[in-house]
Symmetry: C2
Subunit: 340 residues, 2 copies
DNA sequence: CCACTACTTGCAATCGCTTGCAGACTAGGC
DNA sequence: GCCTAGTCTGCAAGCGATTGCAAGTAGTGG
């Protein structure tokens, strides 16, 4: 009789009640054995834990969530998982969250501002907090959207919102210096999308560098969407500008430009030099590999989680600014002597 | 007094009760207005919906989950989000799930078998079903792991588990034919990791193709991990084999081989031809672009969700087998006449 | 030997939504 | 005008955890 009951119970998902009754104690004690171990006599606690292990008990998150108002889930909103910038970041976030027994709800907005708004609203009630990477929304709308939900913004600075940023202006200037020292004098900057914060920052860094010198030609092209195809299409503009040194908004765009130049019969770095930004997988796997400015994607992800947890704990948080570094690789060379 | 109460309530998150009381009806009716609209008189339903809109009501998922046993979340387990094969797939899954008002819990196992087991166990209680892509676990363990949770396996066939597969054997043979017609006679096959189902399938397809002919040399190399670095390291083996036509397990490996060949002073496709598999972003963005066999990643993702829903609905499901296609691009050319 | 902490435990309410059941109300058929 | 069959609606009991409060136990000092 008893064995039947036991068997029947073990078929069902175990609950604190099933554990409690099989141990002859109350459910509250079982609950506390997990959530407030120090409140429970150690012998009892061990018995509970052992039993839980035995029957494969796992707390019901929905029930806990209902009682505590916490879901144990973080939302992660990114504009385009297909952009190789994000996968390493997503992985880092996921791993970091896992350390704290939290899971990640992944949302891809497809680079659409409206989707960003809709999706945030949709997942808001299901998550404890939100990590939103490279949002495209104007600051005002973004801020309004994010009020009421603990969140941290990655790769974008918005006054009043906790941020984790990547600052590559120094490295970008180093890249320009490097090209300059190789005797490049004609530079082209390919700007990224105007709604992308990083694009503005990077453009500014390079522009400031350029403004300091009188012995160079400097052309700005764009805004250009951070996609391969757009980069490829931009190649003609680069050729028209006569620039021999190209600073692309990101690696994907750089790869596009290289392809576009190839369409026009040119080879990198023989005919022109180019440097990208972010050091995505692409940059390392293309041949020749791409000279670029690295982004500490893994740190970025970890810090995003750390910061979000601080926000959730009500601790004061300061914006974090991680540095990119110049990675010298195969797409930069001295300019070719040109027929004139 | 009343206004104070109202204000206080509107500050809080709205519930079916707050809506019910402000409308003078019962909470059940409000609940039904959402979950079983046809059971509610249309005038009432509209009033409820209007009020809900007004106060920004969103059902509490935890509460619903507790009552129904459904979370509205699908788990998506992949071995390595960093592998460019997966992002488009993940996006497709996420979008498809969104259509049904479900979200995606993303988990990256880091290509570890043990992690696969641990992570599945960890998220199992939090999701309605599981989509598990390219699992590395042996069939037996996998099957046991997945009993009790509705799941669909992608890119791996396991008897008794619903699967969504990508069959590229035909396209792979076409690729081999194409190389043959260009007069290649020395082939190398770079096998993928032995725990990867796709690797076994692809190797078999190519091997069968090769076994049919007596006028070729055919070398198998591997197993090789599907990473850039491993492909790069494999280049020397390729050169040693003397093969001029290379069939790589996937695009990432192919890119690695190209880089490795470049290290050895060779150029693709001048010195050797190579074809990859999957048509990941990488394949399209490298210069020259990679001849490869496409994988219908978007369809794969959608079908995975469709299949999972069928499983959840208790409908019978049949394994789905989508076809890859040969994409001719820039890394294949006739073999160079070699000094002898 | 009793009162007084300090620990442990159990009771019971609560989180917000779903749903079986029963009652109320409406409308059509005779 | 009465009965029957629908339609709608509300009541109340869950779902499985958490947690404030009170009761019980034990250890300590007077």
């Amino acid at each position: 009789m008893l064995s039947v009951t036991e068997k029947g119970e073990s078929m069902e998902r175990a609950t604190i009640y099933s554990i409690a009754s099989s141990l002859g104690i109350s459910a509250s004690t079982v609950s506390r054995a997990f959530s407030r171990p120090d409140m429970v006599k150690s012998s009892v606690r061990e018995a509970v834990l052992a039993k839980a292990e035995e029957v494969g008990y796992q707390p019901n998150r929905a029930a806990r969530g209902l009682a505590t108002g916490q879901t144990g889930v973080f939302g992660l909103l990114i504009p385009d998982i297909t952009n190789p910038f994000f996968p390493p970041f997503v992985r880092a976030v996921q791993h970091a969250a896992g350390q704290y027994d939290s899971e990640i709800l992944l949302i891809d907005s497809g680079r659409s501002q409206n989707a960003e708004e809709d999706l945030v609203r949709r997942i808001r009630p299901q998550v404890d907090g939100l990590i939103i990477a490279s949002p495209r929304l104007p600051s005002g709308r973004l801020k309004k959207l994010l009020t009421g939900i603990p969140s941290v913004v990655v790769n974008r600075a918005v006054r009043g919102l906790p941020a984790v940023l990547c600052d590559n202006s120094t490295a970008l200037r180093q890249a320009a210096d490097h090209l300059y020292q190789l005797r490049h004098r004609k530079f082209a900057l390919l700007r990224g999308p105007s709604t992308a914060w990083a694009a503005v920052q990077r453009a500014r860094a390079v522009r400031e560098w350029a403004e300091g010198r009188t012995d160079i030609e400097f052309t700005e092209l764009g805004p250009i969407e951070a996609q391969f195809a757009d980069g490829r299409a931009a190649a003609t503009g680069v050729v028209d500008s006569g620039a021999t040194a190209i600073l692309a908004f990101d690696d994907l765009m750089a790869a596009g430009v290289i392809a576009g130049l190839s369409d026009l019969g040119e080879t990198v770095p023989r005919d022109r030099s180019i440097v990208g930004c972010d050091d995505v997988l692409l940059a390392q796997t293309m041949t020749p590999s791409l000279t670029t400015v690295t982004a500490p994607l893994t740190d970025l992800g970890q810090q995003a989680v750390t910061t979000l947890r601080a926000v959730l704990a009500g601790q004061p948080v300061r914006d974090l600014r991680l540095q990119g570094e110049l990675a010298l690789r195969g797409t930069v060379a001295p300019p070719r002597r040109r027929r004139r």
